[in-house]
């Protein structure tokens, strides 16, 4: 290095840097393409297979507007909206988990661990048990509950610095309280309401409809671009607050924006299908393992969608009885993450 003039134009060196950048980009794109392909395959498997199997020619005819007795209704009113909802909320959970885990530099810091999903649950169960709410009322309550917890976390963590571990501990504290509230309400109510509440708490796609999928899609049209733009700043923020501020990033504003976007994504998804267990928590670490250790928003989104589609397919076709999807997500995703962690022999790739 001593011979080369410092900070001078050097074409071969710049080309080498470009090559490195393109190589790591290629790996990322290959993983993304594979994930996207898997999402497409599972999407159609979910729509076409099952208790009522639809052939591909029939499916094309249905999409073209032809009415096939029985099949048309099942595909258009049940299976298709269900699969679309699974993709949308899976992606929303995945992105939300990615934003939180990367921003707080802690793989535990996903919305389902740090109390945001519990806030939604407590509010939704209160609405169901105390006010007898159903459908949209439950969704609105869940949305409000998540936001209340997010604002409380933000305000509390501002006092004395928003370190990742601190916020995670606070969130787990909130979760414990809210879990107690949910348990209290469930033990006090009649068995039928309790059973309904439990299905919602587990997370279920049974109430999926075009209307609901439309609401989630409309929210994502706003939230995903916001997440992508903020995600670029996240690449600087994850170097540490001092470094980020030194590079000219408005640290506080960026953090607030990320928190808001992450909460909104988790809240919208939870309102639509309940707090589907562990999708937000697992999508980030699994996608990281697949991509070779680094975080990627797109990979987390696709992985979230994949987990939900796969879990719904397993719950609907491979297991007896129509289980809510949330029963399967954790049971399916967690062992997969464990297998990835054990099979990768590198240290420090926890998430």
């Amino acid at each position: 290095m001593s011979a080369a003039p410092l900070m001078q134009e050097n074409r071969p060196a710049a080309a080498a840097v470009r090559d490195v950048r393109r190589r790591s980009g290629r790996r990322r794109r290959a993983v993304l393409a594979a994930l996207a392909a898997a999402v497409v395959v599972l999407f159609f498997a979910g729509v076409l297979l099952g208790s009522y199997t639809v052939t591909i020619p029939d499916f094309v005819r249905i999409l073209a507007g032809e009415r096939i007795p029985g099949a048309s209704f099942i595909v258009m009113e049940s299976k298709l909206p269900r699969a679309v909802t699974a993709v949308l909320i899976g992606a929303a959970f995945g992105i939300s988990g990615h934003l939180f885990q990367t921003m707080l530099r802690n793989p535990l810091a996903s919305p389902d661990i740090i109390g945001i999903s519990y806030g939604a649950s407590a509010a939704a169960v209160t609405a169901m048990v105390v006010f007898g709410a159903t459908g949209a009322g439950v969704s609105l309550a869940a949305l409000a509950g998540a936001c209340v917890i997010a604002v409380s976390l933000h305000l509390l963590s501002r006092r004395g610095g928003a370190s990742g571990a601190r916020l995670v501990l606070m969130g787990i504290g909130f979760a414990a309280v809210l879990q107690a509230v949910v348990n209290f309400l469930l033990t006090r109510t009649d068995v039928r309401t309790a059973a309904e509440s439990l299905v919602w708490l587990t997370g279920s796609l049974n109430s999926a409809s075009w209307e609901r999928a439309g609401i989630v899609a409309a929210a994502l049209v706003v939230l995903i671009p916001a997440a992508v733009l903020l995600g670029r700043r996240l690449r600087v923020l994850e170097l540490g607050d001092d470094f980020a501020a030194g590079l000219g990033l408005p640290v506080e504003g960026t953090r607030a924006g990320l928190l808001f976007t992450g909460v909104a994504l988790a809240a919208v998804a939870t309102a639509a299908a309940g707090p589907v267990a562990f999708v937000a928590f697992l999508a980030g670490p699994i996608s990281r393992q697949l991509i070779g250790g680094r975080a990627s928003l797109a990979a987390a989104a696709l992985t979230g969608a994949l987990i939900l589609l796969a879990a719904d397919f397993v719950a609907g076709n491979l297991l007896p009885g129509a289980l809510p999807v949330g029963v399967v997500t954790g049971a399916l995703g967690a062992p997969f993450l464990l297998w990835l962690l054990v099979s990768s022999n590198r240290v420090g790739r926890g998430g």
């Binding site: 134009e9 490195v20 950048r21 790591s24 001092d242 501020a245 680094r294």
Partner: protein, 295 residues
């Protein structure tokens, strides 16, 4: 060259604890300034204040005559770079990717990565001798390599002023010297104004053009190392009894601590100033040392 950095009557505090108390300093342009002092004397806090990471409770930090806290942060980041004490390396990214993040202040909502950025990253890697590491993962690097990569990242920012907070912490002596040599190369060849907070007085005296010794949030002494580092100052600032002798390699002052289990041989160290060559880089010697009259 746009690199005039100064502080006037600067007061910096965390909550209600005042750490830097009414400090006025001008960092000489195009020189290497090293800030030394005991733990908790406010030297890292001063650096954070100079880098606008900490808003002054009163007083002002000026960059080229403008209040640094009222300038657009990105504009500051194109002139002044900072390497904090404990930067955080994200998992699973390559050296080239990490160094590339130093280009953030040169990018915008619409201006994305381009050939200039590749060239800047390449130059920074080359200057720090890390070009051959470009494709490696950060977590595969040794401590010394990693520190050079962090410096490369600060270089990729392409600023005229570079602030380094204890860049040699956790490095063995070989890598400490390597890092300081690297910073000196940068200063000598590109004229970058460098401000470093260091623990090691001997390395500070050797590499500084201008040395600032801090005590209790104020400047105890500043000037050329040969003028600043005296037995009296070491006693005053660090509370350490030490002999100060000329460094046999560089001729700069070298501090040899006495400690409780040794006593100094009487006559030789009586006049520490003998044998020093005045530092040709520095013409402004300020003497705040209260013991100065005694020598």
């Amino acid at each position: 060259m746009q690199n005039k950095l100064e502080a006037r009557d600067l007061v910096l505090s965390y909550a209600d604890r005042t750490v830097v108390d009414g400090l006025t300093v001008e960092l000489p342009a195009g020189k290497i300034t090293v800030i030394v002092g005991a733990n908790a004397c406010g030297k890292s806090t001063l650096l954070r204040g100079l880098a606008r990471l900490l808003k002054p409770a009163s007083g002002v930090v000026e960059l080229n005559g403008r209040n640094i806290n009222s300038m657009p942060s990105r504009e500051v980041a194109r002139t002044l770079g900072l390497l904090p004490q404990t930067p955080n390396a994200p998992d699973g990214i390559t050296v080239a990717d990490l160094v590339g993040r130093g280009r953030y202040p040169h990018q915008g909502w619409f201006r994305q990565w381009n050939a200039d950025d590749d060239a800047a990253v390449a130059a920074a890697l080359e200057a720090t001798g890390t070009l051959e590491l470009a494709g490696r993962d950060i977590d595969e690097l040794s401590g010394g390599q990693r520190q050079r990569v962090w410096i490369a990242m600060a270089l990729a920012q392409q600023t005229d002023i570079l602030l380094l907070d204890e860049p040699t912490t956790f490095l063995d002596v070989t890598h400490q010297v390597e890092v300081l040599d690297l910073v000196t190369d940068l200063n000598r060849r590109a004229g970058t104004t460098v401000v470093i907070v260091l623990h090691d007085l001997n390395l500070a005296a050797r590499y500084a053009d201008h040395l600032i010794a801090m005590k209790g949030g104020c400047i105890a002494a500043q000037g050329a190392p040969a003028d600043v580092v005296t037995e009296e100052l070491v006693q005053d600032v660090f509370g350490l009894e030490a002999a100060v002798i000329p460094d046999p390699v560089s001729g700069t002052p070298m501090v040899v601590p006495v400690g409780r289990h040794h006593s100094r041989p009487a006559p030789a160290a009586k006049n520490p100033a003998v044998g020093y060559l005045p530092n040709p880089h520095d013409s402004r010697h300020e003497h705040h040392n209260p013991m100065e009259a005694a020598s």
